[in-house]
Symmetry: C2
Subunit: 288 residues, 2 copies
């Protein structure tokens, strides 16, 4: 029944997006970097663990602040209170009186930073929103020569800091993850603090809130966050040890090219181009 088999495109896609990926032609070890436990968060839900890699390159103050919130156990028993279809899953009820510890409730936004000193790996392909896109240490990013600014971009699974109308009204007590098509109009308007490297499906499959902007209308609809911990604070045996493909490696370039111009039999027309949010950022479990 080969003729009637389900469509089989993107075996590679699937494998590469999966933490457990072990490729047939495995890249050299140097193409992979350990995801630093000191900049990794575990959000524990009843459904499993969500692993977030933080991006101090782009938001040093927010990353410090969020780790302080986590260490104060601010997020323990907090709630996922908003899921808007094809947009964001958000957690951190503003009415929740969690302990702040050494953290501040608000900080000036870190929407962009200087591109100087960033190991920016550019993508040659055109982009609708930015003059230049690419990758910095595993994060999809953009930069602009006119202003010298760089910023992380809102791809699927990226994590940002909720705020009110003022630029300095967020601080990390409310966070969101992109659960649909990249809302790139948010770029440069909000602080991105990281990306989900495992467990995004747990956030993407939550029921959509029926209230305005996807907020749940009843607290009973909320998903309770059991705990959030910095991975480095978790006993090693309980960690999810992950490594990410280095975005400055030749293997990553090969990976991009394989997606830009697919060679497998299924494809009839190669795209010839690739958009930053369609580039796979492979993550896998560390092999012991």
């Amino acid at each position: 029944m080969k003729k009637h088999a389900p469509f089989r495109f993107c075996i590679a896609t699937f494998a590469l997006f999966t933490a457990g990926f072990v490729g047939a032609a495995e890249p050299a070890t140097s193409a992979w970097r350990l995801i630093d436990p000191a900049n990794t968060l575990y959000m524990e839900l009843d459904s499993g663990r969500v692993v977030i890699e933080l991006a101090p390159q782009f938001a040093p103050n927010h990353v410090t602040n969020i780790k302080a919130l986590v260490r104060a156990k601010y997020f323990d028993q907090q709630r996922i209170n908003r899921v808007q279809d094809n947009f964001v899953t958000q957690w951190g009820d503003p009415n929740f009186a969690g302990p702040l510890g050494d953290a501040k409730r608000t900080l000036p936004g870190e929407f962009t930073r200087s591109a100087q000193g960033l190991p920016f790996v550019p993508l040659p392909d055109p982009d609708t929103y930015a003059p230049q896109t690419g990758f910095v240490d595993g994060f999809p990013a953009a930069r602009e020569s006119a202003t010298g600014a760089a910023w992380a971009v809102h791809c699927y699974g990226m994590v940002g800091v909720g705020r009110g109308n003022e630029s300095d009204s967020g601080g990390g007590t409310e966070l969101y993850a992109v659960n649909g098509h990249a809302p790139r109009h948010l770029d440069r308007n909000i602080t991105i603090v990281g990306r989900i490297v495992q467990g995004m499906d747990l956030l993407a499959t939550l029921p959509r809130g029926k209230g305005s902007m996807g907020f749940y209308q009843q607290p009973s609809e909320h998903t309770v966050i059991k705990t959030v911990r910095v991975a480095a604070d978790v006993p090693e045996a309980e960690r999810t040890a992950l490594e990410a493909m280095r975005t400055d490696s030749p293997e990553f370039q090969k990976n991009i090219e394989g997606r830009r111009n697919r060679k497998d039999e299924w494809y009839k027309v190669a795209a010839g181009k690739i958009e930053v949010c369609n580039v796979p950022l492979p993550v896998r479990k560390v092999r012991k």
Copy 2:
């Protein structure tokens, strides 16, 4: 607690994407078109109704074939057998011996068509994948002057026809909907037959399959499709009467511009551009 309120961007986004949208400044009636019941499918799940608007402009033979399959009740008791995170939700088990009726199992692919005669409303913004993007009768689309071809593009919620390696190996017995970031590399490689205009959340929230490419490993994990019907075949009282904003209307242009350069207080930097899959395609219930 205004300072600590959750981020409030995109009130308009939410409203516009929602079928029940009634804007404060309502466009004139002429900006809206009834979604034709003769080219609308209702897929009934235990969780609710998924409404699909078919696109005979792009895939006339497949649309005819799928309606024949529906009328033969091919899809009744069929299964959703694949959900791959940030990619597709797919239904139609190839091993399912449903009745074909007047339909064929396979057809030549309708991956592109001539751009001639299509009421193409172009978008001036640059795109990574196509020389020109825009809209045709409510469907996001692209065209290319070099070849004179046009095609519907893979945005969130678009519905396509699963196939094997051969271009003529699909026919509509297996369908998928995009549940994440637009996989635009599929454009021109597969037949798009429509878009989901209500109930996409029901498909996007399904558990991800743990098998290769998101296929479920056990039939017990499948979601059963109770029935699929052509809306015109359903008694009027049981229909979901929807209308869509005309993509050739001035109101739609205003809508795009409002998203391209947001004026609300929350935004600090206007994107200045918009990508075809970020343009809202407003749908609302018909008011009686």
